[in-house]
């Protein structure tokens, strides 16, 4: 295997769009899309004479992310101008943070296979404003849409602590889950809420030495799949290049690539790293941000249990599989809904089954979270308890749940309405069994014969009883009495 020939080293730069109500430095409502250049004001298009004012909420969101990523939160940060000329950048400088980011070093814990985890160190996270978008579909002209300009962006940078495409993907997925849990971003990949830029190279042991290949930066990836594949592709490409040319890392030979999704390969954009001089300097239009203990404390109070911690707790305390726990902690509402249901003292596995077998599917169809389907956690708990008490069958619980989302009825009433209350009355069931035995002498004979067909015939008789009870007989009770009658 190629993997044993080298070690992949990956660091990640991530841009996350924050879901504030307004843009980073003006009052424009933050809405995705729209007719080009309609969601703008003089400030976000950098009109002569305008001044930026800081969106406090964006700072709080960024700080919340920093706290979740175990970052140091300095008490003093500031805004800097990053200068570069590009048509989608109206002022030709971007308001960003240079040497004093809002969040200092930290780490993110990511889940690996079989409940294993790994800590990836974060270098920093800072806030900045997004640029607009250039399009080149107008013949001789290019068009610029500034709707996105001025949106708050959180840029995070990790240490090169990841060693496979899978790990990179796990970090990306985990980060998505965290920002959604914190409610600071929708994390919608399709809408470009998260963009990834991995830096990849290889450490190749050869002749007692470690050779390092030139670093590739893959720009602007906006799907988990592309992220994972581009990293894997780059590793193979770099190894092949090393074998053929022996090229190793030097100052300035970092190259920039794009990802060609159609051909599933990286495409070279710039061979040599350009010597950018962004001429950073403190933005004189903005005052520094002073994070007081009170303000930080207030932000801290909004932190919630993080998804991975919750997932691990579900596995440990509720004995769920890692997979199920992962599914239930994909978003905060679902996780808290499940948790609240279980905390009222019902079998977690039972609740998990109802949610995974029908709840999540229904929520998906309705385009909402499972907690928003109209069944309260109390209602769900009651439903699960009915299964535990054999008042309904496990399969009926799924049907009842679905009906509850429509009619908003209580579980018991809904079960009754659907005639799904199980009958456990031995006398009633016995008379049904007697009828079935009387009507099916051949099957009875086979069932008691001890022959190959015995099991099948017993099953047939069981089915007949269930059918005559219109599915309402408690199958456990039916099976007990039937076995006794047939002396099995």
């Amino acid at each position: 295997m190629a993997e044993s020939k080298y070690k992949i080293i990956i660091g990640l730069e991530i841009h996350v769009h924050l879901a504030t109500k307004t843009k980073m430095f003006c009052g424009c409502e933050l809405v995705y899309g729209g007719e080009p250049n309609t969601r703008v004001c003089p400030v976000c298009i950098g009109m002569p004479g305008v001044l930026p004012t800081m969106n406090k909420k964006a700072v709080e969101f960024a700080t919340l992310a920093g706290l979740a990523l175990n970052c140091e939160i300095p008490s003093f940060t500031k805004w800097d101008r990053k200068s570069y000329y590009y048509p989608d950048l109206p002022k030709n400088y971007q308001i960003s943070q240079y040497d004093l980011p809002l969040c200092g070093s930290g780490f993110i814990e990511i889940p690996l296979e079989e409940g294993q985890t790994k800590n990836i160190r974060m270098i920093r996270a800072h806030l900045e404003e997004d640029a607009g978008k250039n399009t080149h579909t107008f013949g001789d002209f290019s068009a610029i849409d500034l709707n996105r300009a001025g949106s708050p962006l959180l840029e995070m940078v990790t240490e090169p602590d990841m060693n496979s495409g899978k790990e990179v993907r796990a970090l990306a997925v985990e980060l998505q889950r965290i920002v959604r849990f914190l409610g600071i971003s929708e994390g919608d990949m399709q809408k470009g809420h998260m963009r990834f830029e991995p830096n990849v190279n290889l450490h190749i042991p050869k002749d007692g030495k470690i050779y390092k290949t030139p670093i590739s930066e893959v720009k602007n990836l906006n799907s988990f799949k592309a992220l994972e594949r581009s990293v894997t592709y780059e590793a193979r490409r770099q190894y092949a290049e090393f074998v053929e040319f022996g090229k190793t890392m030097e100052m300035g030979n970092k190259a920039t690539f794009g990802w060609d999704d159609d051909n599933q390969c990286t495409v070279l954009q710039r061979e040599k790293e350009e010597a950018h001089d962004y001429r950073y300097f403190p933005d004189p239009d903005l005052v520094p941000v002073e994070m007081s203990d009170e303000w930080l404390g207030e932000i801290k109070s909004r932190l919630c249990e993080l998804p991975l911690q919750m997932q691990m707790r579900f596995v440990q305390d509720y004995k769920l599989s890692d997979y199920d726990a992962g599914v239930l902690t994909a978003d905060r509402q679902t996780a808290e809904y499940f948790d609240a249901t279980v905390k009222s003292g019902v079998d977690p596995k039972r609740v998990c089954n109802i949610l995974t077998q029908t709840g999540l599917k229904l929520a998906n169809e309705a385009g909402c979270k499972v907690a928003e389907l109209g069944v309260s956690s109390d209602g769900l708990a009651e439903l699960a308890k009915m299964v535990d008490a054999s008042e309904i069958s496990a399969s009926a619980s799924v049907t009842i749940f679905e009906e509850m989302t429509k009619s908003k009825g209580a579980p018991k009433a809904t079960a009754e309405k659907l005639n799904l209350i199980q009958k456990s009355d031995a006398g009633e069931i016995e008379s049904l069994i007697d009828q079935v035995i009387a009507d099916n002498p051949k099957a009875v004979a086979e069932a008691t014969s001890g022959s190959k067909k015995a099991k099948k015939s017993a099953g047939f008789l069981m089915g007949q009883v269930m059918q005559r009870s219109k599915g309402q007989a408690n199958p456990k009770v039916v099976s007990e009495i039937l076995n006794k009658k047939l002396s099995l």
Partner: protein, 486 residues
Amino acid sequence: MHELSIIELKDKIAAGEVKSADAVKSVFERIEKHDPVIGAYISTFKEGALKAALDVDERIAAGETVGALAGVPIAVKDNMCVSTGKTTCASKILENFEAPYDGHVIEKLKEADAIIIGKLNMDEFAMGSSCENSALQQTKNPWDVSTVPGGSSGGAAAAVAARMCFGALGSDTGGSIRQPASFCGVVGLKPTYGRVSRYGLVAYGSSLDQIGPLTTTVSDAALMMNVIAGHDKRDSTSISTDVAPVKDYLDGIDQPLDGLKIAVVPELNAGASQQVKDAIEKGLDVYKGLGAEIVEVAMPNVEYAIATYYVIATAEASSNLARFDGVHYGHRTEKPKDYIEVYSKSRAEGFGTEVKRRIMLGTYALSSGYYDAYYLKALKVRNLIRQDFTNAFEKADCLMMPVSPTTAFKIGEKTDDPLEMYMADIYTIAVNLAGIPGISIPCGFDDGGLPIGLQILTEAFTEDRLLRIARMFEKQTEYNTKMPKL
């Protein structure tokens, strides 16, 4: 009518003795008569001004309450965005720029029912001290049309001096209100940095720029400050009124300061021409006659002010002016080869020489490898200069010094030597670096009949005291009542 001060005019308008519409007509008669020679206005809003004046007249006739500047024709420097007409900054690159919004001070003027009559010439993007850097026209000094009006708010000073408006708003980054006020014999006030919102002022040096009034009297400056001063949440650098309350600057303005202590800086004054020095001495004598005490102070770091300023202001300008690129705003070159040429050619064609020089200086100062040696060092020196002022104000209530080492010079006399022009800003520039308020008031004339200004400086956010000190002098003298012969 043109001889009236703002306060006199607005009182007459409010009393119904004078119609605002007549004031506007009278002003436009003067503009039409004299501005072809003076060249103070880049654009005027005659029709809109008349309409607004008629509206004010109607409201007054109906007995409605009107604003503090009701019916008074006011003009503004052409670097303040007004939602009607153009805002050119006297630059080719913005020659056709129409702002879709009113700046903060424009909103304030309109709320006060002032009549905005036009936009005034300036050095391109406020870079210069003579209006010779205007890409659109040369404004002339009404006292001698062969001399410059000063700059960069030269159009504002000339228009006020020539009584082609009753008051004007200028902006001051390194002396751009005070120096032309001095050259044109009018009152010019640069408020404390943060006192007046910069929202809508096309930025030159963001940490230095401040808007202020140019008027014929100190009291008029106080009245205009009452209208424009205050917090604006759109400008993060505008001071909260909790920290520095806005005062009624007219309240008690005629009350002299008892036991006034005036600081002077002998080694600084030494650099001025003999006639300027004499006028300042005479000015100090007036204060002495009023019982003021003069103390001498040293300001050892002020000699570095010009170097410091030309690093900080140009660094900020290089970034502030980056947006004028032919893509979004301003002149776009014809037939560019690629998008790089859209930038390079549009900017090469659109900016004047001085603006290019300052963009180059600022870009250099911020470049990697030079940042620490220039920009960062300049910030440190700026703190030392600030400290010089703090020390001086511990010994005295105010500082007094010339505004400019000379009176107005001939048009074209200094254009070949930008450095000499820079050096002439020695008295005004340190004030912007320190952020404190300063005023220039007329204090005499040279042999050629050109006005000389006295500069008074006080601590940050003490414009009330500054105006009172200035008013003490004005009451004793008649320099401000003299008018140029046109």
